[in-house]
Amino acid sequence: MSRRRMPRWSPAAPALLWWGFFFVVPVAWIALYSLGQKPPPGGGAVTLDVLSGANYVAVTSELFLRVFWVTLRTAALGTLACVLVGFPVAYALARYVPERWRPGLLFLLVLPYWTSFLLRAFAWRIILAPEGALSDTLRALGLLSAPLSLLDSNAAVQLGIIYNYLPLTILPIFVALDRIDPALGRAAMDLGAGPVRTFLAVTLPLAAPGIAGGVLLTFILAAGDYVVPAILGGAKGLMVGNLVATQILASQNLPAGAAMAVVLIGLLGLAVLGAQAAVLLTRGALRLARGPAL
């Protein structure tokens, strides 16, 4: 408490420096490496003599574009499915579950997400196995004519993504809904809005930022996922994460992998900006449609 006290942020400085040195700088190097070349064998990880955008050209090859597209599609569909499945759950937790049970249920909700990635993907391998119990059951019931062949395909990856990120989507939506003062809903009904209108006109708009945050987070993490496609996708379920990993770890082509990573970040960044723009536009459009209140 001295007059010449240390700057307010000084306790956070070590973390800041650590992050700067071990995150910001490395990410900058990714960008730099993406402009380099794969050196001849034995020449280290990269040659930076000639900086060029050659890797980015390679990135636009047919294979890569297809994989990128599949990735974005899987992530988007997965996020959408998570929201559709998860929103009612979040709503139930925020409004209908008794206060006492909430911490416990929230814990149970998050538990699968915090257990091992591998465990969860692994589980689906067992469930979807062609020679496994589910396959046999479905065949016995006559719903399938051949062994279950979902595994090692994009469908399995899609399922795995949804399963993986469901809790991650539910939690921010729950937080957003929980924050809303219940008195607001009552006020709306008092002024003549039925339950549905109250939901659309009051609850949803107030929860929208939280929902948007959850959606964005899910989409970004799903797009960059490696484990689910690696375990459930096989050759046909490839996503960007695996492609990058193969380039860097298997083909030893670090610059190419770096370029793909940069493209991925760029696309995700655009997604974030696009989402924010969409929110602003929607708000503006709604205001325009309703007309001024005064």
Partner: protein
Amino acid sequence: MARERGKGTRVALLSWTALTFVFLFLPILVVVTYSFNGGRNLYVWTEFSPDWYGRALDNPRVVSALMVSLKAALINAAIAVALGVPAGMALARRKGAWTGPFLALLFVILGTPELVSAIGQMIWLDRIGLYDGLLRLAVGHSLFNIAVVALIVRARAEGLSDTLEEAAADLGARPWRTFLEITLPLMAPAVLAGVLLSFTFSFDDVIISLFVQRPGTSTLPIYILSSFKPGLKGDVAAIVVITLGLSLIGMLAAATLLLRGRGKALGGLLD
């Protein structure tokens, strides 16, 4: 029986919620069950047998991978707490113009796909010549966990009045004593929870470990991952369940510490 508004909606939503929870937990139960599958082929259930657990723990590669995971997780937890606790406290008590940008960076760290961080680590750790396997793992994992610890500590500190520290000073306690007698005991649950969570996240981490690992220091998840290629056997399932058990204990302990006596839901974490 009291009359209730919107009963139909309530039943529908709660049923949906229950179904979702079943959906979320079924696969875990499946793995646990199949880890006791005595048969050769993991996917085909033959008989109940705990043999695989014994075989898993006998395997020296498994044991060494387990040790690597544990040690790396511990070092990482130490880093996360050492850097994250002061940051969290500063975020709660010493807010200022710096808070916004700092939190922005924090959320970038949390929200960036681990893939990106992993590649960066790989490049950078090689460039600065950090070749020690355990340290590479610990450093790579620590980034995310510092953010987690900082958020937990911040949530806890904001729930406690900062006047408490002023009162202690008013009553004659020098800053060091205030820290030891007031701040630390009150923050202890959050700090402990941070330790447990950062330990668990590090233990379970796949992709950063995959990229930064050095030959000879492979973590348990990497071992499991590599076991997927050849024919899958029950011992892998057994290992996975063991890791699940460890994570569960960590989670439960952290949750108990965080939620005991405090009314705040987890929502406080995500503010």
